[in-house]
Symmetry: C2
Subunit: 405 residues, 2 copies
């Protein structure tokens, strides 16, 4: 196979990269691949401990896609065995253990989302149970013998837990060995990961060398900050954009992004040339461009990747409609109540818009609740609910409830 | 089966014991066995890392024999898998790893010696490869998950190595799990060991509880001091008595024992009632009995266990003959030289009695060398060696060389 010149490949591949270990070997590997016509094997391991994929995960997936577009082979390792342990990297306590069935179920959902970013051709999928289920005990002890306790306890996460007397289970010390042995099993040339994966990826090099193979390179991508621009994107914190969210919700979340990380998201989540991005940011800084215009462009680019250009433009239009009160977003909560006559505050608590009548009263008094498009002025009002209709309740600017009855 | 009353059994079993964990459970286990007629399963694990067995090892073996004599079943676990790791207990560095073939070879020699103490009936022998070779990887991680890093590093040996920056390989952390899982596999009621085995034996309890079994009891025997009465018996230190040594050598080594541990050896290596031993020691202390008389009795008892009463008496007689110069011991070194004429010092170095001529000269000048029963007075003497004969060279009181030519 004929590849693009190494220099061109490097230019594309280096975008957004935090670190390559060892620095000089990627160019050599690309050169060898170019000379021999053999694609590189790009490893990515994933433990499907939770099925939801968000933009934070796509930073690495998009890099895989770039490798694919340059003709290389992606090897996705679904960690059905590693997930049963749980990667201790960056954690301050042991992960809950999942059953094999849960993991396989999550893996199915994960792959559906994975293939929204990564191409279905030029990909190999392996479950690491393929080799771990057959790994003889004597091999396990041999592989474990390649690492030392001190090496593990020098890792910041283990070190901190040990120092804080937070228990570290011995099976967690097996995790780096397992991730490393995955690299042996699939003979990877490059392993991708977030910066928190450096330790594990280097253990893969150790084990490949131990088995007499040419060791892989670690290519590390930054951790994406969430929509708040402050901390790592995470579902539990709520600062995330999920790959399965509808186009208008996705558009809205990007359009509402913290100013401080707009440039970073352009770099990590789009292919817009970096010079163009820099110019935009300069224009925003000088007042030549409205910051919302930059976010609109970012949102359109990203939503287009997942839903196409037409849906992206429709999402932008809907965002404007919602702002002017003429539409409700597609992530509005739906709920049902029986027909009857309700005190307004009772109804608001009933549909879970508020946790208590006190909270609901304060918001109504502040003018923040609309029912059927009308501002609710009197907290004592009675709301008549008849059968076979739908009522829209709006709380604040963008929380909507579709109440069916 | 009908057992002896629990109280009688306990009286025999408690002799020489250092510790039982937990204290109160042995009596309960014995009572249950007595009530149900089911023998207890007494576990002893051995990693045949070296084939030589000495008296230090027999302290635990003799306890096994007592259990057998009381009707219980001994389960010997030959650690063909654990030996490949090597027990880190009490060590200050990792053990060298043995191949499976070396281990099996050692195991054969070990068993020949084991059965000089332990009866061949009422015994089950298992190699732990029986279960470890079939242990699925997922079970390994599950078992490892029952222990914590802190628990391992609280162990004195690991703690000291970690503090001293002496590498601890991760496979060494697997050892306690393996020894523990042996107890699960054979469903042991009691595990015997030296006091240095306490940690590992308690891990067996942990894993048995984890698997929903009634946990074993740990019964710990003291570490036997060597013939010097100072440090643990050990082949490398040279203060040992091997089970394969000839009767006269065994007798001699016991007869030359340090006074300070004669009573301890009576307790741990014979069945002579402890009151009788106490009386003997009192008689020695008061001058009523010659200390050599007590050692003679100890030597006769022990040599009788391995070679019978007649051989023991013959060994005692030979010891007297050697002292009076009328016999040479059966562990005399044999060597060969070519016929010819030798300078005395050259000959002594040649047969490896001394490392250098200087050393040999000093001993000759001190009157410590006999050749052919005659004291060698002149270091410059020439020794004529003719074919087809044997010459006995004696160095000091009891080092003999049979020189063949």
């Amino acid at each position: 196979m004929q590849f693009r010149p190494v220099k061109e490949q490097l230019e594309i591949l280096m975008r957004g990269v935090t670190d390559i270990v060892p620095q000089d070997e990627l160019e050599k590997k690309l050169q060898k691949s170019y000379d021999t016509g053999v694609p590189l094997r790009i490893k990515m391991g994933v433990d499907p401990t939770a099925p939801d994929v968000h933009f934070g995960h796509t930073v690495v997936m998009r890099k895989l896609r770039q490798f694919q577009d340059l003709g290389h082979t992606v090897v996705l390792i679904v960690g059905d065995y590693t997930a049963q342990i749980g990667d201790p990297s960056g954690r301050n306590k042991a992960r809950p253990r999942l059953t094999h069935e849960q993991v396989l179920e999550n893996a199915k959902e994960y792959q559906e989302q994975f293939f929204k970013v990564v191409r279905r051709d030029q990909v190999e999928i392996h479950y690491n149970g393929e080799w771990f289920s057959k790994l003889p005990f004597s091999k396990v002890t041999e592989l474990m013998g390649q690492f030392t306790v001190a090496q593990m306890l020098e890792r910041e996460d283990f070190h901190n837990r040990y120092a804080a007397n937070t228990p570290i289970s011995l099976h967690e010390f097996m995790y780096p060995m397992m991730q490393g042995y995955d690299s042996v099993a699939i003979q990877s040339d490059v392993e991708l990961g977030g910066t928190d994966q450096k330790f594990n990826v280097l253990r893969g090099r150790d084990l490949q060398l131990f088995e007499g193979m040419e060791p892989q390179i670690g290519l590390f991508m930054p951790i994406l900050l969430g929509t708040d621009g402050k901390v790592k994107m995470s579902k539990s914190i709520g600062n995330y954009v999920g790959l399965n969210e509808p186009a208008d919700v996705m558009y809205h979340k990007i359009y509402s992004l913290s100013d401080s990380i707009v440039e970073n998201w352009f770099e990590l989540l789009t292919n817009i040339p970096l010079e163009e991005v820099k110019q935009m940011m300069a224009d925003v800084a000088s007042g030549k461009m409205n910051p919302n215009e930059a976010k609109h462009r970012l949102a359109i680019d990203i939503v287009t990747q997942y839903y196409g250009a037409e849906a992206a433009e429709a999402a932008a239009a809907k965002e404007r409609e919602i702002h002017s009160g003429n539409a409700i977003p597609s992530d509005a909560a739906e709920c049902s109540v029986d027909a009857g006559s309700y005190g307004a505050l009772d109804l608001l608590v009933n549909i879970k818009a508020f946790a208590s009548k006190g909270e609901a009263r304060r918001m109504v008094q502040n003018g923040g609740v609309k029912i059927g498009g009308e501002k609710l002025a009197d907290p004592q009002a009675q709301i008549e609910i008849k059968g076979g209709d739908q009522l829209v309740v709006q709380v604040g600017k963008r929380k909507f409830y579709k109440v069916n009855f």
